[in-house]
Each structure stands twice: as C-alpha cells, then as structure tokens.
C-alpha cells in the first residue's frame, strides 16, 4: 500500500541518530523534574500546572516542530521530495502519510513522557484520572501540532522559523493575553481535552470544545497542505 511505503521511508528518514537522541533527551526533562518532585514528597506542586508548563507549552510543540517540518518541508527544500512527487500518487496521500508519521513519532516521545511525569507528581487519590487526562491531551496535541507543522513546511520554505514563532510567541505569550485568541491555540485544545477527562487537573477556557477545535485544526491543516502540495513548484532553479 502506497501510504505504508511513504510512511516507512519517512520514519527511517526522521529517526536519524542525532535527532533521535536529542529529542529523547528533551522528552526526558519532565520525567527528571517529576523524579525530583517525587523525592521531595512534602512539596506542593500541582500536576496539571507542571505538565502544562513543561510538556504542553514547550516540549510537545518543539518535538512536533522538528518532526513535522522534517517530514515534508525539508525534503521539498533539499530536493529529496522530487522522487516522491514524480510518482503517480495523489498529493493528499503523501500529506496524510507524512502527517501520520510526524504525529505518531511525536506522540511516541511525548505521551510516555507526560504519563510518567504525571504519575510521579499527581497525588495518589487522582493519579489515574489525571495521568489519563494529560496523556490523552498530549496524544491529540501531537497529531494537531504535527499536521500544522507539516502544512507550514509545504506553504513556506521557512517552516521551522515560522513554526517556532507560532509555538513560542503566539502560544507562549499572546494567546494567553488576548480574549478569544485561545480558539487558535493548540495548547488550549490540549488543556480543554484534559480538563474534560479529569475535571480540575487544569483550568481551561475552551473546555470540551477543545475536541472539536482540535479536529477542525487537524482537517484544515491536512487540506491546506494537500492543496498546496498539488501546486508545489520547485524552488530555485536557473
């Protein structure tokens, strides 16, 4: 099946040794923090706030950014994607396979990191529910972020920079300040989804609408990427 062929070679391309080690180390940071908190059992640290600050705000978008832009955008830049584009394959199949791989690899790193950290920090009474809530949020967030960053890589040759700007400046600073802007923040979707599964683990503005927004963002990103890939023109040349 074409989808699996594209997915398989994309996984091999994304799991270069240096990139994998770096991202695994990044995903290990929250676990280390969790271990420290766990060792000092007296300290009062809220599990939701910790995971939100470390994973949802920083590590999830960064890992998704690396995988999402490398999956397709950088291949379009360095010419590797030409081998894929000059085949009789629907462009949406290419985008779906690339997005699925980028999202799955992001989730493979971020979801365990989230779950272990939550288990270490959460109070015994709510450990199960909080862990599941945050892990599901991270899982959904992995695919939504990956889809957005794959699309960014098709739309612009500076996907990495634009994506970094979105994750750090928009999501990190502005989306919290401007009322109504949360609708365009993947971080808010993740918080909303977690707050629905385990009420009280995180405060959320969007609440259960987070599921809907996440679905819309995912579909829109894939559609934009497929549309633009069908009209992709090689950059540079003579």
């Amino acid at each position: 099946m074409i989808f699996l062929e594209i997915a398989r070679v994309t996984v091999r391309g994304l799991l270069g040794r240096r990139r994998t080690i770096l991202l695994v180390l990044l995903a290990a940071v929250p676990v280390l923090v969790g271990l420290l908190v766990h060792a000092n059992q007296g300290s009062l640290v809220a599990v939701g706030a910790t995971v939100d600050a470390l994973v949802v705000r920083i590590i999830l978008p960064l890992v998704a950014l690396v995988f999402g832009t490398a999956a397709l955008g950088s291949e379009l830049e360095d010419g590797l994607a030409v081998h894929l584009l000059t085949k009789p394959i629907g462009r949406s199949t290419i985008v779906l396979a690339k997005t699925a791989v980028a999202g799955s690899l992001t989730a493979a790193l971020v979801v365990p990191s989230t779950a272990i950290t939550a288990l270490l920090i959460a109070p015994a009474s709510a450990a199960g529910a909080d862990t599941v809530a945050l892990a599901v949020g991270a899982l959904v967030g992995s695919y939504v972020y990956a889809a957005i960053f794959v699309a960014l890589g098709v739309v612009t040759s500076r996907g990495l920079i634009v994506g970094l700007g979105y994750a750090l400046i928009w999501e990190g600073l502005l989306a919290g300040l401007l009322p109504g802007s949360q609708v365009f923040s993947v971080r808010e979707y993740v918080r909303g989804i977690a707050s629905v599964i385990s009420p009280g683990v995180l405060a959320s503005v969007v609440g259960s609408a987070g599921f809907l927004y996440a679905a819309i963002a995912l579909v829109a990103a894939v559609a934009v990427a497929a549309y633009r890939l069908a009209r992709f023109e090689v950059r540079g040349g003579d």
Partner: protein, 328 residues
C-alpha cells in the same frame, strides 16, 4: 533516422503556433510556453515538439534549461502556454508519471537506503506488479548490480547519478527527462551512460537531456534544441546547428608583415565586410568563418605579405548562442 521529429525547421524554430499540427509521434509538445518569476522572464514564448530518439537541450548556464525541464516534469507551472507529454497536460496531473521519468540534477537521495531499496521504493510507489524484479532489471541496466547492496550514502557522484537513473526508468517510461546527467561523471562513466541512453532511444523511447557542454550534445544527440536567455535559439539535427554556428559573421585578428597592404587586399574579397587597423593589428570582419579561413593564406601570398597570426576573436559558446538568438 529519416523523419525529423522536431516540428519547427531550423530556420524558423519558434514558428509552431498553437493548433499547428505537430508530428504524430511527438511525445513532448510545448506550445508558446513562457515562465516568469515576478518581473524576471525565465522562458520566453518557446514552442517545440520532440519525438522518439535522443534530443539534447543545449545552452549556457542560466539559459532556462532547468526551468524548461521542470515545466516538462510538472514541477513548475507555465506562466503562459501549454506543456504536453504524451498528449496530456503535465501540470497538476500526477497520472502523467506512469509514462514519464525524471532524473533530477540535484543529488538528494535517501542516503540510508541501499541502492536496491531506493530503486525498489520507486517501483513500489509506481504500484508495479513485481517491484523486486523491476528494480533488479533497472539496476542491471545502469550496471550497478555490484554496489546495489550498499547504502546510497556511500556512493560516488557517478554512482548516485546511475541509481537515480535506475529509479527513474524502473517503470519503463516512454519519455525520460534528464537534467545535466553527465555532471560529475568521469569519462568512462560518461561513455557508458551515453551508450545506455542511446540503446534506450533505439528501443523507441523519447529521451531529452540538458547540457551546457557542446561536446556532450554532439556525441549523443540526434536532435538539438539550443536555448539562450530564455528563448529557443535553434532547433534541428546536430549538423544543421553546427553549420549555423560556424557559418556566422566573424571578426579575425591578423598580425602580418604589412597590415595596410593586406587590408587593402582583403577588401577586394567578396566575403570580407570590412578591415580596420588597431594598434598594429588588423581586424577583419567576414561573412563566414570557413570561407575566410580558406582564402586568407592565398590573399596574403598574392600580396606578398607574411602572416604572423590569424585568430578568431570571439568563439566562445556564449557568443555563438547570442548570435543564434540575434539572427532570428
């Protein structure tokens, strides 16, 4: 080859207007194609048709060869005009790749795959019935079987070129486009690649390759398209083009024992337009290269002048291209 598969004649290479009949066997047709980037015109109103056989796309660097090939490969949208391969428009038509293969100039390949895996991947993406056999056949064709088990990342430039060609012909396309295929190849690899392309053309395929080196085109191509500054400068078989290139006005620099007397003698020759004296040198403008080289010694002897040096002043390929464009 008896029929000339290039639609426009060498004297009017751009004349093929839309709707004008093209040869029935033309695999590639460009109809008044232009391409611009912002205000920069990269390709300017180019029309041609290419049929089976090897056709060389010749032009200096920056002439627009890659832009033309990218439009033919469906990787660039023509700003105006139509690009057809096998009678179908190429732009936004991925189905075209069932009969079309492209060997890109850029070297990017999946370094972590072995040669076999790389070509097999192409076969699978083409949904071939037996990808393994097709890959083995293609690798055999480019004579890479010995290195096929090694990762492509360890390949030399010439081997990368060959593995890219194997991947591009794994589905046995009727039309094959190659962007500067001989770049980075040593003479032995070059020779082998030429034999390969010739044998593929002999099997009825349409092969179009770009090059900025006259000698490569001369040795390989039955038909030549000359591109300069975004325009089609000439089209025809190689000998016709070659004659156009040599039979053009030239300026020769002559040093002799008596430039003044020699100048007067040259001016009596019908093939000489003019003669000027500059810093002890004689500049002679002539109608055509070969005609002047035949008479120069005779004229000097008749006027009893000793020739020290006769040199064409302007024989770069660039000036040849510029001349071909200007005469149209």
């Amino acid at each position: 080859m008896t029929a000339n598969p290039l639609a426009p004649t060498p004297t009017a290479p751009n004349a093929a207007a839309p709707g004008q009949p093209v040869p029935a066997n033309a695999a590639i047709v460009l109809e008044r194609v232009s391409r611009w980037y912002g205000n920069v015109v990269a390709i300017n109103d180019v029309s041609f048709a290419v049929g089976p056989g090897v056709t060389g796309l010749l032009g200096p660097n920056g002439a627009g060869k890659s832009t033309l090939l990218h439009m033919l490969a469906g990787l660039l949208r023509p700003s105006a005009g139509r690009v057809l391969v096998g009678g179908q428009p190429v732009w936004r038509n991925p189905g075209i790749y069932r009969t079309l293969g492209l060997v890109p100039e850029r070297e990017a390949v999946h370094d972590y795959l072995t040669g076999t895996a790389f070509v097999e991947l192409a076969a699978r993406l083409h949904r071939l019935a037996d990808p393994r056999a097709a890959a083995a056949r293609a690798i055999d064709t480019v004579d890479l079987a010995q290195a096929a088990g090694r990762p492509v990342g360890t390949y030399s430039k010439g081997m990368r070129q060959r593995v890219k060609i194997a991947a591009a012909l794994v589905h046995d396309p009727s039309t094959l486009l190659l962007d500067e295929p001989f770049n980075g190849m040593d003479p032995r690899q070059r020779l082998h690649m030429m034999q390969l392309l010739r044998s593929m053309a002999a099997a009825g395929r349409t092969i179009l390759f770009s090059s900025h080196i006259l000698e490569e085109v001369e040795r390989l191509a039955d038909q030549v398209l000359v591109v300069h500054a975004g325009r089609l400068a000439a089209a025809g078989n190689y000998r016709q083009i070659r004659r156009l290139m040599t039979d053009r006005p030239h300026t020769f620099r002559v040093r002799s024992s008596d430039n003044r007397r020699l100048a007067a003698a040259f001016l009596g020759e019908p093939s000489v337009f003019g003669a000027e004296l500059h810093d002890g040198q004689l500049m002679v403008r002539v109608a055509e290269y070969s005609g002047f080289t035949r008479i120069v010694a005779k004229v000097a002897r008749a006027s009893d002048v000793s020739l020290f040096e006769v040199a064409p002043t302007d024989d770069s390929l660039e000036s040849v291209f510029a001349y071909l464009v200007s005469r149209r």
